[in-house]
Point group: D2
Amino acid sequence: MPKHKIGIVGATGYTGSELVRLLTNHPKVQIDIITSESKAGQKFSEVNSHFNGLTDMVLEPLEKLQDYDLDLVFLALPHGVSMDFIKDWGYEDFRVIDLSGDFRLQSAEIYEQWYGKKHLDPDSIDDAVFGLSELFRNEIRNAQLVANPGCYPTSAILALAPLLKNNFINQSNIIVDSKSGVTGAGATASPKTHFPDVFGNFSAYGLRNHRHTPEIQTSLERYSGDKTEILFTPHLIPIDRGILTTTYSTPKRKLDKKFIEDTLFSFYEKEHFIRVVDDPPNVKNVRGSNYCDIYVTYDERTNKIVTVSTIDNLVKGAAGQAVQNMNIMFGYIERTGLDIIPLSP
Amino acid sequence: MPKHKIGIVGATGYTGSELVRLLTNHPKVQIDIITSESKAGQKFSEVNSHFNGLTDMVLEPLEKLQDYDLDLVFLALPHGVSMDFIKDWGYEDFRVIDLSGDFRLQSAEIYEQWYGKKHLDPDSIDDAVFGLSELFRNEIRNAQLVANPGCYPTSAILALAPLLKNNFINQSNIIVDSKSGVTGAGATASPKTHFPDVFGNFSAYGLRNHRHTPEIQTSLERYSGDKTEILFTPHLIPIDRGILTTTYSTPKRKLDKKFIEDTLFSFYEKEHFIRVVDDPPNVKNVRGSNYCDIYVTYDERTNKIVTVSTIDNLVKGAAGQAVQNMNIMFGYIERTGLDIIPLSP
Amino acid sequence: MPKHKIGIVGATGYTGSELVRLLTNHPKVQIDIITSESKAGQKFSEVNSHFNGLTDMVLEPLEKLQDYDLDLVFLALPHGVSMDFIKDWGYEDFRVIDLSGDFRLQSAEIYEQWYGKKHLDPDSIDDAVFGLSELFRNEIRNAQLVANPGCYPTSAILALAPLLKNNFINQSNIIVDSKSGVTGAGATASPKTHFPDVFGNFSAYGLRNHRHTPEIQTSLERYSGDKTEILFTPHLIPIDRGILTTTYSTPKRKLDKKFIEDTLFSFYEKEHFIRVVDDPPNVKNVRGSNYCDIYVTYDERTNKIVTVSTIDNLVKGAAGQAVQNMNIMFGYIERTGLDIIPLSP
Amino acid sequence: MPKHKIGIVGATGYTGSELVRLLTNHPKVQIDIITSESKAGQKFSEVNSHFNGLTDMVLEPLEKLQDYDLDLVFLALPHGVSMDFIKDWGYEDFRVIDLSGDFRLQSAEIYEQWYGKKHLDPDSIDDAVFGLSELFRNEIRNAQLVANPGCYPTSAILALAPLLKNNFINQSNIIVDSKSGVTGAGATASPKTHFPDVFGNFSAYGLRNHRHTPEIQTSLERYSGDKTEILFTPHLIPIDRGILTTTYSTPKRKLDKKFIEDTLFSFYEKEHFIRVVDDPPNVKNVRGSNYCDIYVTYDERTNKIVTVSTIDNLVKGAAGQAVQNMNIMFGYIERTGLDIIPLSP
């Protein structure tokens, strides 16, 4: 069987580089083109020097996309740029998995409210399927346009979905306290990512208005069918990769600790990439891999359910889940090319 | 005026070493003796090599305490060992500031419930004053035995006390999500603090049953007069020093964001070591110093008050607050010897 | 073709865990047994929690080795324990790759001088082949006992071998200044690896007497045929993985910068795992992979050749090179199972 | 006695901020003005948020310098900008300590060769005194213009000066292998200091042509009187503060290990800030302080002297030594305002 033909748009960010890492060893697809507007003509391995000697691919300008008869294109572009691409190129000639936030929310209104800019292509929002693989697998299978989830939302949604779906917890009063490594801020240097200021440090940011708030909320609503209210607070961990999310919610009725754990365990029993664990997880146990580790407990004293979940923000939180979605769309076994054992220590 | 005479019991841990750092430059006191059972006879600077050339003091066995006419003794001992000391030595001949958890809770019952061992000296619990300097200054002034607060509790209590005291928030349903550097785990090597396993990592631990839970809860109750219920979750940040605590609570009535901020600001206006800040704080801004930075905000959408507070766990969270308490007890200006500008970056 | 049958002796250290990571996805071999004396009966994934859900293997006591008809055994044991194993089990029934230092030096005398203890099996030293894959491939192919190189030596030898082999540099007066991440110190917690003391720190250690000195020296002598004198100084980098080695040597005759670079390039042209690079390398560009990046330059002003080389100490410096040697011994393509793209950032 | 009046030119870099930290608690001087061209009008504590609440000073434009009758001005300016200042303002009205590299080398020719740009004020180079406090104390005392040493040079020169002065080692064939924390690269964000790329990483850079090479070389020549040849290689440690320098040199004659150690010890016996230590030092033992720890050993086998020295690059390597020089210039006790115990852990 011939390999599927893949394009990657955007090669200078971390998600672009991780897509190449994952797809290079994928047995069923081939990368035909990697584009970069700012670095067209340079070798991919010049821009991402850990690929030195591993690939000869040269970055091409976007227009060259049309020279290849591509089956699928990954958009590893900044927020606001993806919708430009979609407006120009559409998603008929090839299927698209967009790793930006442009098509993740349910409407242009919500987008404009949280992103503070006008959405250029509201119709495509309706077409887009939210690519949380484990929860929206059926819709993803036939989608032409997949909006790959954000990193924080992936970690929060996977922990909360079983609780909401089983109607265990109040839909309001849900606290999501997340902590992320610095790759989540992207590959472009800025004062906020200057090494001496981040090293040995820890901070909260984006209180009350982080863009992942509506993404978590609306996706949980889509999945559970109920209006949901999330308070989300992100924090910056001085490490490169990894997200740990702690959630706090209130049971609707009297629940037994063991019953909640068992429910979560059953919910994800057949999922290769979700590991429901017996002890609070850590981010290094998933480093470099597509796994999400989830722990749940119930505190009788205060009547709260607490979950702790971890992912590698660049893999299950970005490029890895994108490849998982591609596997779903092409009908492959979902873990194809993603059998990566976490790098620890 | 002659200097006050100080003893430090326990010299091999981080709090002992930090006490020496702070007291060495204190203009009003002199360290007469530092004891260590395991390292008696060795030089303090051998055990704490950053003091090389800065002090010639030799560690002495505990029994030598009686050879000095001490005014005050700091106990930098592990939990469970301090109460042994108090039982043997009392706190009549010299005043005592205990940095362990042995006398922080309100009763032997609560102690035994959370620490899992019998308390050897319940009577002294009643005598002990909880040494959160800003909140219990009057009691501290005349105390013979001060129970210096834990690091997590200091960061949480200072953020929540003004909200509870002003009756802003529900006493139950309070979430305290804390993140601490690894010095909080002490100076003794263990598998949990093995560098390769902590580096690049982040984890939650002690869910539901961390010993600082009752300390936060009962201290807030003592201060505000109302029964309070706290859910506390600690996390391990892969850095050496610093705690950041995020709290979530529910207003009792409709409140204005600005009003809450102003209230907090007024509450701490005259406190030298509390800085109410306009932006979410970070731990490096207080590194090495006795400051506590506090930020508060109100999320109308979810009707939650969120605070973020930071301290250096070894200073305001331990040795620094102990020295602050000593200053109160001796009637010095509270910041004497503590005018340390944070070390950043 | 049936898979080769593999045993791993020692499962609780980092090299044991890395061997399992690499061999799990190796298409030609199967791990039949993993032993651990201290943790026999426990699941491998309990001891190495990042393998949670990825393997069901249970650790077995050493004696069970005889129940399997093994083709090859990896010894992931501490120094001094491997020679016990070899004395008892030999290397006739199965071939052995030993990852300890016990069989790396050329004689029992040198061993005893640098390791400070008696060697229990001097005869096997003569049989052992030093497993620096690129330099001793032919001997490795037919070896029954391979002494897998140390991490520091691998990084130093690969940089210096071409210079010595081409008779470019003086055999004496060679400085090897190495810097290693903390996994090089092993998986057992100790005061030297206590997180707060290593974090934000950097130190030199083992000056003049580190055991890798004779390993670098005698291996270069074996390879180049000339007596060689190395001064080796290791340093501890506060990271988990990675070694960077800087060497300084003096040309024997007038040499052109470009000529030296070209020679190094040609020397390793056909080697998949050696990347001769144009810019000074960094350790993250090889993280998790079996690559060794080497940079060389010549300073006319001081007449010195400087090399900078990097490896992941747990992969090319331990488990990865061991698997590479296994591939050589079994006649596989050398990179089989080792096509891992470095994890960066 | 009235306090000396101080100006600081340049407030947005790390050296400016460290100068304010050190001078704020200095009993003999007062900071009258801090200038910043880019941030004039802002509060100093806005730009350096760890000073929040500790100072009300507002940044002023450079021209305001003339409104104060200053005794001394610190220039915390980038290389190339200081000479502009000196050309315009001179150093007659106030004495100047320049923390840039502009006046450290012995001639405009050497400057232009290594800095790649024309020197604008060659005459002032002759007036400038190289501010390595311990070695050039007498010249500094009466200097109008002090060129404060670079961070790498301070660590290297203090280790090598006693060996050269006593004529122990060959003046050529000296290797200086240095490792620095990232604050050495300054406060301005750049791709080279982007957190995810530096974290968990280690690299060499500036081989053969780093500007500190001639600074080390010519200063040692000035001090010892002999032509000296240094090969200098810097490396980047993924920490915020600290330099560790390892040097390798060849004895001129047969020397005893103990004799070399004793010589170094005697050489610095009366120096408060130099600690000759018995074990290889680490950078955390000097963090935040003005100490330089030096270790020396002799390897008979290879006939090499090895030194290891450590400083905090922002203190003894910049602002701390600048204050030490100020104390010398004003005739204060040298350690005034600098009695800071290292912050460890």
